[in-house]
């Protein structure tokens, strides 16, 4: 029974991802005073894109053919490796390193796709993406090291159980959560680092790399970047704010835990959209400052936890 719930929770995560993206768009529109598109618009977009054919560049190779599918596969696998709203503390998957490297596969193939179409924009986007992720990776591993030192485990299910068992908030946990939040923004090309809604040349990082994909490929790429964002949000929730998580195989606790998860995700999405509406994008060469702030936050969290 519990394996069924494990599969159902990851399927829910995958199915609800476009809805969450629609909610972000709606929140941003209502903050700015626009009239919002329907909440279900991302589903329609994906359905429309799946009906269209693909247009390939003459100079593209096999990478462009396989990369969108590979990206989506890696993201879906990562989504099946994180606890969403049910965790009975008996893990058989979910090593944090495997999740990180699965999400690294997505980044790798998206950058290769940007280079593969032999357009100027794609290469520019790839170079910028790797420049940012080069600085973001140490923060990621420091956060993982912090989680290991805090809970003596590298498995996200065990980490979740251990953090949920702690009484109250820890100082180190709050600081590491702040560092991870900066990392979440930087890795998923959200606002202070990259503007996800324009195709303007100066702001393009993520959009530049997928500029030359079309139709079905574009749908797969967009879906995989959305799922990547939601997997990051789920890791954030489960490693730092695991209140309301259940391990009981019964109907009522699971539903309550699901509602708690949805509420936490909505709060995080509201914070993301508030930040996106209130801040201007950083210059590219000021992004290292943001990430080095996250670096020193995670370093301080490790030291506080250790001493």
């Amino acid at each position: 029974m519990k394996y069924v719930i494990y599969i159902i929770q990851s399927l829910m995560l995958l199915l609800l991802t476009p809805l969450f993206m629609g909610i972000i768009k709606n929140l941003k529109a209502s903050i700015r005073g626009y009239e919002a598109c329907p909440v279900l618009q991302p589903y329609y977009n994906i359905a429309k894109l799946f009906e269209k054919g693909r247009v390939l560049s003459k100079s593209s190779s096999i990478i462009t053919l396989i990369a969108p599918t590979l990206c989506l596969c890696a993201c879906v696998t990562a989504a099946f490796m994180v606890p969403v709203f049910f965790n009975d503390g008996n893990p058989f998957v979910g090593n944090l390193f495997i999740i990180i490297f699965l999400l690294g596969i997505v980044k790798f193939f998206i950058t290769l796709t940007g280079l593969d179409s032999a357009s100027a924009f794609g290469g520019m986007g790839s170079s910028r993406e790797l420049f940012i992720s080069m600085i973001a990776e140490p923060v990621m591993f420091l956060t993982v090291a912090f989680l290991y030192m805090e809970t003596k485990s590298l498995n996200i299910f065990a980490i979740n159980t251990a953090v949920a068992g702690m009484a109250g908030f820890d100082v180190a946990n709050c600081i590491a959560a702040m560092g991870f939040a900066v990392l979440l923004v930087a890795e998923n090309a959200r606002m202070p680092v990259d503007n996800p809604e324009t195709h303007l040349e100066l702001t393009m990082i993520h959009e530049a790399m997928i500029l030359d994909t079309s139709g079905r490929d574009l749908a797969l790429m967009e879906l995989s970047s959305w799922i990547k964002l939601m997997v990051f949000v789920t890791i954030f929730i489960n490693c730092f704010f695991p209140m309301g998580m259940t391990g009981a195989v019964a109907f009522v606790p699971v539903i309550l835990s699901f509602i708690a998860y949805i509420l936490k995700v909505l709060v995080i999405l509201a914070v993301i959209s508030l930040v996106e509406c209130s801040m201007a994008k950083f210059r590219l060469f000021r992004v290292p400052e943001l990430l080095s702030a996250a670096f020193s936050l995670s370093l301080v969290a490790i030291v506080i936890n250790f001493f």
């Binding site: 600081i175 990430l291 702030a293 370093l299 030291v303």
Partner: protein, 203 residues
Amino acid sequence: MIEILISVILISAIAMSGFRRARMLNRGFALQSLTIALLCLAKGYQTGEYHYYILFLLTLITKVVIIPLIISRSMVHSKLERETDMILSGSWSYIVTGIAVALSFIFLGNFSDYLFRVGCILIITGAILMMGRKKAITQMIGLLTMENGVVLFEISMVKMGSIIEFGIVFEMLILAMIMGIMIFNINKTFDTLNTDYLSNLKE
């Protein structure tokens, strides 16, 4: 509750060390002072001693309202928007602050009291802020951050009378006023707030 407030103070100390814009530094200082005031309130609620409430009120009035007003007034007068050439720039100041905070947590490992350690850390980050900047206003904010650290020290000590709290708070207020006047005069004499030019006073 106290732990969340302490982590807000630490995060604001690390974040303030790299801000370029003086307005953001001012807001960060106000947030830090507000957190310290709330910490006093929480301590007072925990221990039931009245002098924490007095410190809460004094901190709220002076450091959250009056001193940021003084700083923003002198910013308007001197038209200082942001600091362009810092001695410790951007990411380096974040990393230096992070390492300094980590080292001081290691060296103060014998003290189990978080407030004491965080007080030390605020003094060190304020010193880094003062050393790494050239403009007078940002150096002033660094000094005020150090004073915030002194207040945290004072909270962590058990037996201290209200007279010392009054002393710290009013010293800080008068310090901010004097520095506001000094900044106005520096700006009038040199047409800039860069403290490098102060050595031009030599004959």
